[in-house]
C-alpha cells in the first residue's frame, strides 16, 4: 500500500462517516442522540481537515465545534426538553423549502468549487481563491499553519475578521437584552 492509497481510503472512510452521521442528525427521532451524532459530524470534519494538512483548523474545529457548540446544543436540549418523555417525533414542516435550500447551496458550492478547480492547473497560486493559496503556502511552514493563518487574518482578511467579531458581539449583547426583557417583565 502506498501513501496515496491510504490517504484516499482515509478520505473516503471519513467522508462516509461524516455523511452517515449527518444523515442520522436530520432523521433521528431522539433529539439528544441527534446532538451526539452532530458531535461525530464535527469530529469527522476535523478529521477531513487533518487529511488536508490544516492542523490548526482541525484543532479549532474540535475545540469550538465539538467542545463548545455541541455542549451548547446539549444544554439547549436539556433546558427545553423534559427529562421524561424524551422520545419526540421530529416533524420537518418545510420539506420543500429544505430541498430548494439544499439545491441552492449545492449550486453555489459547485460554482465556487468548479471555478477554483478549473483554474487550478494552469494558474496555480495566482488566480486561485486566496484562502486556498494561504493554506497551500502554510502547509510548508515548519510551525504548522498557525502563523500563516494568524497573519492572513490580521492582514488580508482583517475586515471580514473584524466584521465577524462585531457580529458576534452584537449577537451576545442581543442575547443578553432578550434574556433581560424576558426575565424582568
Amino acid at each position: 500500500m502506498n501513501g496515496g492509497a491510504v490517504w484516499w481510503v482515509f478520505f473516503y472512510a471519513l467522508s462516509a462517516f461524516t455523511l452517515f452521521n449527518a444523515l442520522l442528525v436530520v432523521t433521528g427521532k431522539n433529539l439528544f442522540k441527534c446532538a451526539l451524532h452532530l458531535m461525530l459530524v464535527f469530529l469527522g470534519v476535523a478529521g477531513l481537515f487533518l487529511l488536508q494538512g490544516a492542523f490548526l483548523l482541525a484543532g479549532v474545529q474540535t475545540l469550538i465545534y465539538t467542545g463548545g457548540v455541541t455542549t451548547l446544543i446539549l444544554f439547549a436540549i436539556m433546558l427545553s426538553e423534559e427529562v421524561v418523555g424524551r422520545q419526540r417525533q421530529l416533524v420537518s414542516r418545510g420539506v420543500s423549502i429544505g430541498i430548494s435550500a439544499a439545491i441552492c447551496f449545492l449550486g453555489i458550492a459547485l460554482t465556487i468549487f468548479g471555478t477554483a478547480v478549473a483554474q487550478l492547473p494552469e494558474n496555480y497560486g495566482v488566480h486561485i481563491a486566496p484562502v486556498a493559496q494561504f493554506v497551500a503556502e502554510a502547509s510548508h511552514l515548519p510551525m504548522g499553519n498557525v502563523r500563516a493563518v494568524g497573519v492572513a487574518l490580521l492582514t488580508q482578511f482583517l475586515v471580514p475578521f473584524e466584521f465577524a467579531s462585531v457580529l458576534l458581539v452584537v449577537a451576545v449583547i442581543g442575547a443578553i437584552v432578550i434574556a433581560r426583557l424576558a426575565g424582568g417583565k
Partner: protein
C-alpha cells in the same frame, strides 16, 4: 532466531506497515502508564488525606496498603453491571467512553521526559491539541448525566458542563501566555525554551514581571475547576447532589469515570509543569537531567502540583454555584485577558 528477527517475521506476515504496530504498542504502553499513574495518585491521595485528617489511610492490603487501590479497581471491575431502567441504554454505555477517551488521548503529546524517548509524539500543535481533545470531556459528562434518567444526575451533569466550559476560557487564555513567550504551540519547544535554569522557567521568569506567574496561578485555579476538585467540586457536592453526574453508574463504567477524573488531574498538572515549570529540565544547570533523570524531574514537579491540588482539596470548603460562575467570568477572565494583553505587548516590543 533473535527477538528482532521474530518481530520482523511477524510484521511481514501481517503485511501492515510498521507504523501501525508501533502505534499500537505505544497505545498500550500509554494505557498501562495511565493506569499505573492513576492507581499511584489515588493511593498517595488517600495516604496524604489520611495524614491531613488525622487518619492512617489504607494499611492492610500489601505493604503500607499500596495494593489497596489495585484491590478497589479489581472490585469495581468485578461488580455487577447495572443499567437503570430509566436510562437511555446506548448513550448510557457510550458516555464513560466519551469521558475516558479524551483523558487517554491527551497523554500523546505530553513530554514526560527528554524527547523523543519519553514523549509519545510531538505535534506542532501540541497544546492546542490537548485543549481541543479535553474539551470533548464536557459532552461526555453532560451525556452521562442526561442518559442516567435521574434528576440528580442531570442537574449534576449540567452543573458540571457549565463549570467546565466557563473555566475553559480563562484556562485557554492562561495557556496562551507561555505559548506567546516561546512562540510555539509544541509542548517540546515550550519546555526547551525554558531550559535548565529555574529563573528562566516561565512561572519564575522575572523578565515578564511576574505576569507569567499570574498566568500559572490562573491556570492552576482553572485546573482545580476542570478536574472537579474542592473548592470547585459542585458537580459532586455531596450535601446537595449526592454524587453528581455519575450517581447512577457502578462497576466498570464508574471505574472509567474515576480513571478519567484522576488521570485528568495528572494531565493538567503535567501540562502546567511543561508550560510553566520547565518540563523535564532540572532546576539548576549542574544537576543531571538527561535520560531517566528527565523523567524523574518531570514526575517530581508534576506530583508536587498534584499534591498541592490534593492539599487544597482536603482543606477548603466548597463555593456556591453562582460564586463559582462569578469567579470565572468576573475575576479570572478579565485578569487573564489583561495578563495576556500585557505579555503580548512585551513580546511584541522585544
Amino acid at each position: 532466531m533473535s527477538l528482532t528477527q521474530l518481530c520482523e517475521r511477524l510484521l511481514n506476515w501481517t503485511g501492515l506497515p510498521v507504523e501501525v504496530w508501533v502505534g499500537l504498542v505505544v497505545a498500550v504502553i500509554i494505557f498501562l502508564f495511565m493506569t499505573v499513574i492513576v492507581l499511584a495518585v489515588v493511593y498517595l491521595f488517600r495516604k496524604f488525606a489520611g495524614f491531613i485528617q488525622l487518619r492512617l489511610g489504607p494499611r492492610y492490603v500489601g505493604p503500607r496498603g499500596v495494593l489497596q487501590t489495585v484491590c478497589d479497581a479489581v472490585k469495581l471491575l468485578a461488580k455487577e453491571d447495572i443499567i437503570p431502567a430509566e436510562a437511555d441504554k446506548g448513550i448510557f454505555i457510550a458516555a464513560p467512553l466519551i469521558v475516558f477517551l479524551p483523558a487517554y488521548l491527551a497523554y500523546i503529546v505530553i513530554p514526560f521526559g527528554q524527547p523523543p524517548h519519553f514523549q509519545p509524539k510531538d505535534l506542532n500543535l501540541g497544546i492546542l491539541y490537548v485543549l481541543a481533545i479535553t474539551s470533548i470531556t464536557v459532552v461526555g459528562i453532560i451525556t452521562a448525566g442526561w442518559a442516567s434518567g435521574s434528576k440528580w444526575a442531570t442537574i449534576g451533569g449540567m452543573r458540571s458542563g457549565a463549570q467546565l466550559i466557563s473555566y475553559e476560557v480563562p484556562m485557554s487564555l492562561a495557556v496562551l501566555v507561555p505559548v506567546l513567550i516561546s512562540g510555539s504551540l509544541s509542548m517540546k519547544d515550550i519546555a526547551e525554551m525554558q531550559g535548565d535554569r529555574i529563573w528562566y522557567w516561565n512561572a519564575f521568569n522575572i523578565s515578564y514581571f511576574g505576569l507569567a506567574f499570574i498566568a500559572f496561578v490562573i491556570y492552576m485555579i482553572c485546573a482545580l475547576a476542570e478536574t472537579n476538585q474542592i473548592p470547585f467540586d459542585l458537580p459532586e457536592a455531596e450535601s446537595e447532589l449526592v454524587a453528581g453526574y455519575n450517581v447512577e453508574y457502578s462497576g466498570m463504567r464508574f471505574a472509567f469515570f474515576f480513571l478519567a477524573e484522576f488521570s485528568n488531574l495528572f494531565v493538567v498538572c503535567a501540562i502546567a509543569t511543561t508550560l510553566f515549570l520547565g518540563g523535564w529540565y532540572a532546576p539548576l544547570p549542574f544537576l543531571p537531567d538527561d535520560g531517566f533523570w528527565s523523567l524523574l524531574w518531570f514526575m517530581l514537579k508534576t506530583l508536587t502540583l498534584v499534591f498541592i491540588v490534593l492539599w487544597i482539596r482536603s482543606t477548603y470548603p466548597r463555593v456556591r454555584i453562582d460564586q463559582l460562575m462569578e469567579f470565572a467570568w468576573k475575576r479570572l477572565f478579565p485578569i487573564a485577558l489583561i495578563d495576556l494583553g500585557i505579555v503580548s505587548l512585551i513580546v511584541a516590543l522585544r
